[in-house]
Structures are given as structure tokens and as C-alpha cells.
């Protein structure tokens, strides 16, 4: 098929700008980049779906029809972008509420794990083997249990 250069140029710039913004630290910028990426990808679907045609509605107009399947996929993608962007906005707002700005911080837990790796120690949830004996009751429950035998 014939490639539509103006559409491809638009896709290229949308994706490039989106990717650049997504790499920022400010969550609002990341979200804006996300929306740009979304628009670019939806256009990408359109371009790769073949030549333009009439609306894919049976009995409406003449001539070849545009491919309906990529349209259906892009349609849900658009609505999902709305949902996820709203969630991201809530995150940004929450971040601002807690820290006074909406910059994405480095993860503290990851930093802790890195420090553990440097110290050659195990994870926090690892239980070292010890001489304690597994038992149904707690370590000091024996006295209690003897008094509570049913009669």
C-alpha cells in the first residue's frame, strides 16, 4: 500500500515527544507524555490498518471500507487511556499532597535492597534456621493447655 508521509511524520513526532516527556521526573509531564504516546500509537494503528476508506458501516456509502478491526482495538485503547490517565492524575495529586511536588522519587525499598546486596545479607523475610522446635502451641502454652482439658 501507499504510505501516507504526513501521518507518519505526525506519529514520529508524537511518539518522540511522548517518550521524551515520559522520561521526565514530574508526574504531570509523564502523564502528558503518556497521552501523547497514546495518540501516536492510535494513529499508528490507523496507518498500519491500510488505505483509508468509507466508514465501516454496512450500507452507508460506496467504495472500499476502512478496516474495522484496528478501529475497534484503538477505540478501547482510547477509553483505557482515559482511565489510566485519571489514575495517574490521582497519583500526581496524592504525591503533591504528601510531598509538596509531583516528582517521582526513587524507590526507598529498592535502595534498601541494594544496600542489603552490598552487605551480602539476606532479604528481610528470610528466616535463618535455628534450633527452635516447631510446635502446635506457643512456646509457653503447655501450662495453659494442661488446665483447659475438657471434662
Amino acid at each position: 500500500m501507499t504510505l501516507n508521509l504526513s501521518l507518519i511524520a505526525a506519529i514520529t513526532v508524537l511518539i518522540a515527544c511522548g517518550a521524551t516527556l515520559v522520561l521526565e521526573r514530574s508526574l504531570t509531564r509523564v502523564l502528558i507524555g503518556f497521552v501523547l504516546l497514546g495518540n501516536g500509537i492510535n494513529l499508528l494503528f490507523l496507518v498500519s490498518s491500510g488505505d483509508p476508506g468509507r466508514a465501516p458501516i454496512v450500507g452507508l456509502g460506496e467504495g472500499p471500507m476502512a478496516d474495522p478491526l484496528p478501529q475497534a482495538m484503538a477505540l478501547t485503547a482510547i477509553v483505557i487511556t482515559l482511565g489510566t490517565t485519571a489514575f495517574g492524575l490521582a497519583l500526581a495529586y496524592r504525591a503533591w499532597q504528601l510531598t509538596g511536588h509531583d516528582d517521582v522519587q526513587d524507590d526507598l525499598e529498592d535502595d534498601l535492597i541494594r544496600r542489603r546486596a552490598d552487605l551480602d545479607s539476606t532479604s528481610t523475610t528470610f528466616d535463618e534456621i535455628d534450633d527452635e522446635m516447631p510446635d502446635e502451641d506457643g512456646s509457653d502454652a503447655h501450662e495453659e493447655s494442661s488446665g483447659a482439658v475438657p471434662s
Binding site: L3, L5, S6, L7, A10, I11, T12, V13, I15, C17, T20, L23, E24, R25, S26, T28, R29, I32, V35, L36, N39, L43, G50, P56, I57, V58, L60, A66, P68, A72, A74, L75, T76, V79, I80, L82, G83, A86, L89, A90, Y93, R94, D107, E109, I113, R116, S121, F126, E128, I129, D130, E132, M133, P134, D135, E136, S139, S146, P150, S151
Partner: protein, 940 residues
């Protein structure tokens, strides 16, 4: 038969309720389930074991992959099923006294325990390799929950975890082996696999994989360390799972496969070596224990080794002895565990060095203990004795394996039996003797019911000894599945003076002597070598995880995303460059001038977005790209996309503004440095790579698209002319259902982020204004509740009010008409959402509550449920999932309504989208309003 399994699961489900109503007495009711199963099975098993003809209960499940719920009652599985149900009933009955009244964990325990009993029954009865595996893993998981009964202690958690990891590891190996076996044999039926008995290297590998599962489940060396740890479970669990039922699963599986596979190379050497080693190691360790329960646990390991040797050799005679020994062991070992439980509950300890003078104070316990213990030690005239005599006979007469092997096996088993006699003496003597210099232990008299179960089981140990002539033919039917070997095995108290009798005498005498000489022995370390090895392996995995995580998880979002982009640029990008020359590109500037204009607009807006420092400006510019995209959609012939895009863009724009009104107007300062140029470079390269993909992908569009065949069926079956909409609600409705779920999750996430912690009153976060119904009666426009007059626009409010219902009607119209014209649930829902948004903008959150007096969560749930129901209902009517049908409903006066059922799916979509919109408005609109009001009040 399935009814029995269902009954167990049902009882398990209802047991928490029963415990609440009946407390400990619930156990009596629950014990009826296995007891009834036992009663039902008894005549049938009698029949099966007499005739040797199995009864099949085939149940189709997922035939396409050979996964069936087929059950079968064969002589072997019948005997096991009787043990599982019989002992299960007695143990449950016993539990009614074992637990303290009002034990807070009892509700969970009962449920898990009964479910376990059902799974175990399913395991022994299953005749499908995958069905067997399902039940097998069910017992693993349920046993994990039972071992972790008291998870507060670290040691208990580790014990439960060890058992889980070891047996699941074995289970996975087994699954692989079973799948290979089923493939080689060409059937997934267990009976079929054993009958086909395929051979070859693949079969050998498969069988050994299955054996890993059996060996780990039955706690053989080197996996035996999990069983002593499992003693963290309440004693009834040890009596049932770790003596009578679950640990026998491995032995059962070996016995099941032996008729077909005992002759494959390596089978016998492996099982005999592991069995003898386990028998000796377990016995020797048991001899150093002071905790009666642990002593029994190690004794069980030893006995499991013995059983494995017998069933593993797999000749007619050893198979007979193996099953006899298995039954005898289940009876005496569960008795012993239950009795130790009685002692524990009556005295408060199980330590055999602390207990003294119990013989006088608990005579009945002593009698039962001596009977069961004597059975374990192999003393006449008990069941354990006759079974062991048969075992010795079968080993002495063994001629299917090399002579030295048979001799060494016999020597090993005799050694193990000597240890058995010794640790049995240690147990009975330690529990009941009067220790010199120590006072008699004080005893709370156990109630009669508490003792009834163990006494009943102990009596079976005696009965079994005398009923040899009755049991013999019934076990022989299983043994007859093996090739005849010229020997006739039977259970009898007196075989005459022969080698097996002398072996028994040697065991008893040497065992007694060993007991006397090791009376003071104490285990120095609680851990066995293999446990330390296992622990080291687990530690190594943990360390590796920490190192890998520490090296790869930098915790920085830009770095993660950057790496993703770089991978995209380098890997598929390289492929792109390589493929570039082979593609013929046919290019044009545009289809029409509009595209050029709009594309230019989008490009300018996108670049300006990146450069802008003001948040609001960036958002508006993004809006420009969004509307531009919508125009391009129109130009391409995608009116549905364009409509949705415009609606979403509008909604998103306002939502951004709602949030940005609180966040500072400018982005935080960022230095114009190297890292920024790196970002721009990565972004630009990503854009170019993606452009390359589009060009190659679009040029490669040579085949007929899938959707070419959509048009005719869309009209004929989907009943709609708008193919995009029919695709969404019918052809690819599964996708849409998944996407609806994403929307619901996103909406819930938004609400929880905003209402999290800020609304400290007990009100649920998403609730609407509580008393708006009373408000509504008083005022027509509600915004005066919180907005000062100069911030209101009465004209806007009034016009909005008047238009709102029209908007709603239009939204419903767009939703319904979407089947044939541009529109549909998404577009309709968005229009309604915009209507709500306008109401909110004109009058604030009270106005929003007045216009939609419903919880957003309710709408979301309702929508998802409607969509799901419209998928399920057709299956109830005999159609496929999400199948649609067209019906014509006559309406008086108006004619006929042509209704396509997929419209219900679209209604679900519509409701979910409105729910999302409402949630976003309530949270990012009203919720943030409330925060700012609260903030202003705090300042004032």
C-alpha cells in the same frame, strides 16, 4: 462416588458456620461425612476386593486435554479409601475433645481438615493422571495450612514452608513425569497407563520423575526432614495426614505403578536403596528423641521406608506384604499419635523424660498404647506381627532380584525392624514408667469420648491379627495384578518354625537389648544433614534474589523506562535496519490537504508541549494533538474513533484542569543539562524507530485482513451494521470485557487515592453526600451550599439543569444506535459523563450528587455485572459464551422492537464508563474541593 467428594467439600465449606453454632460439637457432625463415606464404600470395596473387578465412575471434565475426573474403585484404591474415610471419621470424632472449647482457630481448622479428607479420598480414587495430580497438590496445599496452624512461631512457619516447598517440588516433577507417561502410553487413564506399560528411555525418565514426587511426598531420604517439622500441626493432623493418609500417597502411587513399571532399569535399586536407608536412618533418629510425637514422626519415616521397599520391589508376594503392612501401619500409627495427643492434653507435656507414673493413672491409655505399640514392633498376635511375618517371608523367598540384593535388603529391613522394636519400647516405657526420683505427673482424667477413637483403632490392631484368613484373599486380589511368582502369600499368626519367625525373634531380642543400651540417648542437634542442606539452598536462592534485585532494580522510573526504550531501539531497531533494504516503499505525501494541515498542527503542538514550562499550557497543547488526531480519524474513515477521541479528549482536558488547579502552575525547575539532552535523544530515536516500524508494517500489509470477513456475519449474526461496534460487543467481546475490568480497577484506584486517609470519619470513601435527598427537596440549584455568590453563574446552572436530561437521553440514544451508526456504549457513556461534568462545573459537588444520587462503585459493579451476565446467560440457554441473538418483541400499538441481545453488553459498557466518569468527578473534582475547603478552614 462423586457425591462423596462433593459432600466433603460441602461440609468443608459449611464447617465454619457449624463451628460458630456448635463449637466443638461441630466435629461430631463433620465426622459423619467420612463415616458415611466409609459405610457407603464398605460393601462395594468388599465386592471389589473379593472379585478383583474394579468399578469405574467416569466423569468427563476437559476431554480435549485428557483431564477427566474419572474415579475408579480398584482393590488397592478401595482399601486405601476405606483407611482414609475410616481413620478420618475417628480422628474428626476425637477432635471434639482435643480442641479447647471456643478455640478461635477451630473454624479454619475444621474447614481445611475436612477439605483435606475429601482431597485425599479423591487422590486414591482418581483414575486420571492429571486428576490425580490435582488432588495430590490439593493435599499438599491443605497440609501446608494445617502444619501452619499456629503461624505465630517462626519455627512453625518454616516447617510449613519446608513441607510445602519439598512436596510441591516433587509434585511438579511428578506432573512432568505423568504428562510424559500419558503421552507415551497414549492415554491419560492411570489404569490404561499401567496396562500399556510402555518402555523406552523417555518412559524411564518419566517414571523417575514420578518417583521424585512419590519419594518427596512419602518423606523418604533425602526429603525426610519435612515430616518431623510437620509435627507443628495439631496432633489429630499428625495422626491423620502424617500417619494414615497423606504420606501414604507416595507409597500408594508406587504400588499403583509397580505392576507396569517395576521392571524398568533402576526402579528396584533406587526404591530399595532409598527405602532401606530411610528405614534405618528414621529408626536410628527416633531412638534419640525425647518428644513422644517427634519419636513417632521419625518412626513413621522409618516405616515409610519399609513400605517403599515392599511395594517398590513389586512382585506378587511383596506387593501383598506391602499392602498388608500399609494397612497395619495406618492403624497402629494413628492410634499411637492419638494416644500421645491424649497424654499431651491430660498432662500438658509429651516429653518422655518428664512423664512418670502414668501407667497407674491412665490404665486404658496404657492398654491401647501397648496394643498399638506391640503391633508396630511386630509382636504376636497383632496385625503388625502377621504383616511383618509376611514381609519377611516375601523377602526371604525373593528371587526376582540378584541374590546379594535380596540378602542385603533383608538384612537392612531386619536392622530397621530391630530399631523399630527399640524405639517402640522407648516410647511406651518413656511415657508410662515410673521414673526413679521423680514425682508422679499430675493427670486430668481424659473423658471417655476422647479415648473412644484411639481404643477403637487399637482394637483393630488386634482384630487384624486374628482375621488373617479373612483379609488374605482381599489383599490378594491386588497382588494378582502382578505376574505370578510361585509363592502364595498369606496373613497368619503361625507359619511354623521357619526363617521369618527366627527373624522376628531376632528383631524382638536385639531390639529390646538396643532399647536398654540406648535408654539415655538424646538427640544433639534437632536438624538433620539434609535439612541443613535444604536450608543452605534456600538461603542461596534468597541471596541470589537480593543480589539480582539490588543490581537491576535501581528504583528510578526514568531509568526503567529509558531501558525499555533503549531495548526497543536496539533490538527490534536492528532487525528493522536489516529488513529495510528488502522492503519496497511506495509513498505519497497525503490523501488530502486536510491531513497535511492537521499533521502540521499536531507536530507543532507536540513540540511546544515538550518545551512548555507551564502545566496548563502543556495540557491545552496536548488537547490540540488529541483533537487533531480525531480529525485524522475522520479523514481515514473511522467515525467511531473520532467520536470517542473527541469525547475522551474533552473529558481528559477538564480532568487535568481539575487537578492542576491545586498543583503549582509551573513545573519544577529542571536544569538544561546533559541528562535532558539524553532524554530528548532517546525520545527522538524512539520516535524514529517506531516510524520505521509503521513504514515496514504498513508496506507488509499484503494478506487479506481478518476483518474482511466481518461484514456479512456482523449483519447476519451480530444484527448490526456498524462493524466496529459489533466487533466490540460481539465478535471480540471477550477483549472488551477485559478492558471494562481495567476501567473498573482504574476508577477504584482513583477513588481510593483521593479518599485515602483524608476522610477520617467512618464514612466509606466513595459515598455520596449523605443527606442530599433532604437538600434536594429544599432547593432547585444546590451550589449555594458552598459557593459564594460571586463565584456562581445562575444562568449556567439553570441552563445546565435544563439541558442535563436532554444530554442523558442523547447518550442513551447514541448507545442504542451504535449498533448501526457511529456510537455505542463507550461513546454514550462518555456523553453522559460529560453531562455530569457540566453539572459539576456549574454547581460543584452538591450539584453532582444531586444529578447522580448513586455511588460510582455501584454503577461500575452494575455495569461489569451486566456485561458479564450477558456473556453467561447465553451459555445457560445452550449457546456459547457471549453469543448474541436477535429477538423481535411485539409492543402493542408501536409495532415490533427488534432487539439484539448484545445490546445488554453495550449497556454494561455504558454503565462502566459512566461509573468511571462519576468516580473521576467525585474524586478529582469533589474530593479535591473538599481538601481545599478543609485547607482554607485550617488556615482560617
Amino acid at each position: 462416588m462423586t457425591t462423596l467428594l462433593a459432600l466433603h467439600l460441602l461440609a468443608a465449606g459449611f464447617s465454619p458456620v457449624m463451628v460458630r453454632l456448635l463449637d466443638r460439637r461441630a466435629f461430631w457432625v463433620l465426622a459423619l461425612v467420612p463415616a458415611a463415606s466409609f459405610a457407603w464404600l464398605l460393601p462395594r470395596v468388599d465386592d471389589v476386593t473379593t472379585t478383583g473387578e474394579s468399578i469405574d465412575y467416569p466423569i468427563r471434565w476437559v476431554s480435549t486435554i485428557g483431564l477427566e475426573l474419572d474415579l475408579t474403585l480398584s482393590p488397592l484404591s478401595g482399601i486405601l479409601a476405606l483407611l482414609v474415610t475410616g481413620v478420618g471419621a475417628i480422628v474428626l470424632f476425637y477432635c471434639a475433645w482435643y480442641f479447647k472449647p471456643g478455640d478461635p482457630e477451630m473454624w479454619r481448622f475444621t474447614g481445611v481438615f475436612v477439605a483435606f479428607a475429601g482431597s485425599m479420598l479423591g487422590l486414591v480414587l482418581s483414575d486420571n493422571v492429571f486428576g490425580l495430580y490435582v488432588f495430590w497438590e490439593l493435599t499438599t496445599v491443605l497440609s501446608y495450612l494445617l502444619i501452619g496452624h499456629n503461624p505465630e512461631r517462626q519455627a512453625n512457619r518454616r516447617a510449613a514452608m519446608n513441607a510445602l516447598i519439598v512436596t510441591t517440588f516433587g509434585g511438579l516433577a511428578m506432573l512432568g513425569g505423568l504428562a510424559m507417561l500419558a503421552h507415551e502410553a497414549g492415554t491419560t487413564s492411570l489404569t490404561g497407563v499401567v496396562q500399556a506399560a510402555p518402555t523406552g528411555p523417555a518412559v524411564t525418565v518419566a517414571v523417575f520423575l514420578v518417583l521424585i514426587g512419590a519419594v518427596s511426598k512419602s518423606a523418604l531420604v533425602p526429603f525426610h526432614f519435612w515430616l518431623p517439622g510437620a509435627m507443628a500441626a495439631p496432633t489429630p493432623v499428625s495422626a491423620y495426614l502424617h500417619a494414615a493418609a497423606m504420606v501414604k500417597a507416595g507409597v500408594f502411587l508406587i504400588a499403583l505403578l509397580a505392576p507396569g513399571f517395576a521392571n524398568i532399569p533402576g526402579w528396584r535399586p533406587l526404591l530399595i536403596t532409598l527405602g532401606v536407608a530411610t528405614m534405618v536412618i528414621g529408626g536410628a533418629t527416633a531412638l534419640r528423641q525425647v518428644d513422644a510425637k517427634l519419636l513417632l514422626a521419625h518412626g513413621t519415616i522409618s516405616q515409610l521406608g519399609f513400605l517403599t521397599v515392599l511395594v517398590g520391589i513389586g512382585t506378587r508376594e511383596t506387593a501383598f506384604a506391602g499392602v498388608a503392612m500399609l494397612v497395619a501401619h495406618a492403624l497402629f500409627k494413628s492410634t499411637l499419635f492419638l494416644l500421645v495427643g491424649v497424654v499431651d492434653r491430660s498432662t500438658g507435656t509429651r516429653d518422655i523424660t518428664e512423664l512418670s507414673g502414668l501407667a497407674r493413672r491412665m490404665p486404658w491409655v496404657l492398654v491401647a498404647m501397648v496394643l498399638a505399640g506391640a503391633s508396630m514392633a511386630g509382636l504376636p498376635p497383632l496385625f503388625g506381627f502377621t504383616a511383618k511375618e509376611t514381609a519377611f517371608t516375601s523377602l526371604v523367598e525373593l528371587d526376582d532380584i540378584p541374590q546379594y540384593g535380596a540378602v542385603m535388603t533383608t538384612v537392612g529391613v531386619v536392622l530397621g525392624s530391630i530399631l523399630t522394636v527399640a524405639y517402640t519400647s522407648r516410647l511406651v516405657w518413656g511415657l508410662f514408667s515410673t521414673k526413679p526420683g521423680s514425682e508422679d505427673t499430675s493427670v486430668v482424667r481424659p473423658p471417655v469420648g476422647f479415648l473412644a477413637g484411639p481404643l477403637l483403632l487399637a482394637s483393630t490392631c488386634v482384630l487384624g491379627g486374628f482375621a488373617g484368613h479373612w483379609i488374605t484373599p482381599r489383599i490378594a486380589t491386588h497382588a494378582e495384578t502382578f505376574a505370578p511368582d510361585g509363592h502364595e502369600a498369606k496373613l497368619a499368626l503361625w507359619h511354623g518354625v521357619n526363617l521369618p519367625l527366627w527373624l522376628s525373634v531376632i528383631c524382638i531380642v536385639a531390639g529390646g537389648a538396643l532399647f536398654v543400651s540406648t535408654q539415655r540417648a538424646r538427640a544433639t542437634s534437632r536438624h538433620q544433614l539434609s535439612e541443613l542442606g535444604f536450608s543452605a539452598a534456600v538461603r542461596a536462592v534468597d541471596r541470589l534474589a537480593v543480589e539480582v534485585t539490588g543490581r537491576t532494580q535501581r528504583g528510578s522510573l526514568p531509568i526503567y523506562l529509558g531501558i525499555i526504550f533503549l531495548v526497543l531501539i536496539t533490538l527490534p531497531g536492528t532487525a528493522l535496519v536489516l529488513a529495510w533494504s528488502s522492503v519496497d516503499f511506495d509513498v505519497k505525501v497525503a490523501d488530502n490537504p486536510l491531513q497535511v494541515a492537521v499533521a502540521t498542527l499536531i507536530i507543532v503542538a507536540a513540540v511546544l508541549t515538550v518545551r512548555s514550562r507551564r502545566r496548563l499550557r502543556a495540557v491545552l497543547l496536548v488537547g490540540v494533538t488529541g483533537y487533531g488526531t480525531a480529525l485524522l480519524f475522520v479523514a481515514h474513515g473511522a467515525p467511531d474513533l473520532a467520536l470517542t477521541q473527541v469525547l475522551v479528549e474533552t473529558f481528559l482536558l477538564v480532568t487535568f484542569v481539575l487537578v492542576l488547579r491545586r498543583i503549582p502552575p509551573f513545573f519544577s525547575d529542571r536544569p538544561f543539562n546533559v541528562s535532558r539532552w539524553v532524554r530528548v535523544a532517546v525520545g527522538a530515536l524512539t520516535g524514529l524507530t517506531v516510524a520505521g516500524f509503521v513504514m515496514v508494517a504498513a508496506s507488509a500489509r499484503t494478506a487479506t485482513p481478518d476483518s474482511a470477513g466481518f461484514a456479512a456475519p456482523a449483519v447476519e449474526f451480530g444484527g448490526g451494521r456498524n462493524i466496529v461496534n459489533v466487533t466490540l460487543v460481539d465478535i471480540r467481546a471477550w477483549d472488551t470485557l477485559g478492558e471494562l475490568s481495567v476501567l473498573v480497577v482504574a476508577a477504584t484506584g482513583v477513588a481510593s487515592l483521593i479518599f485515602l486517609l483524608t476522610d477520617r470519619s467512618a464514612r466509606p470513601g466513595r459515598a455520596l453526600a449523605a443527606d442530599n435527598s433532604t437538600r434536594r427537596t429544599r432547593s432547585w440549584v444546590t451550589s449555594r451550599q458552598h459557593l459564594s455568590d460571586e463565584r456562581r453563574s445562575v444562568v449556567l446552572e439553570t441552563v445546565t439543569r435544563l439541558l442535563f436530561h436532554v444530554i442523558l437521553v442523547v447518550s442513551v440514544y447514541v448507545m442504542l444506535v451504535g449498533h448501526n451508526l457511529p456510537g455505542g456504549g463507550f461513546a454514550g457513556g462518555l456523553i453522559a459523563g460529560l453531562g455530569l461534568m457540566v453539572r459539576y462545573l456549574s454547581g460543584g459537588r452538591e450539584e453532582l450528587d444531586a444529578s447522580a444520587p448513586i455511588d460510582a462503585g455501584t454503577l461500575l459493579g452494575l455495569g461489569l455485572a451486566t456485561a458479564a451476565l450477558s456473556g453467561i446467560v447465553p451459555t445457560l440457554l445452550g449457546g456459547g459464551v457471549l453469543q448474541s441473538a436477535a429477538v423481535d418483541i411485539p409492543i402493542p400499538l408501536l409495532g415490533e422492537l427488534h432487539l439484539v441481545t448484545s445490546v445488554f453488553f453495550d449497556i454494561g459498557v455504558y454503565l462502566v464508563v459512566i461509573g468511571l466518569a462519576l468516580d473521576v468527578l467525585r474524586s478529582l473534582g469533589g474530593g479535591i474541593d473538599r481538601h481545599s475547603t478543609a485547607g482554607e478552614e485550617a488556615i482560617a
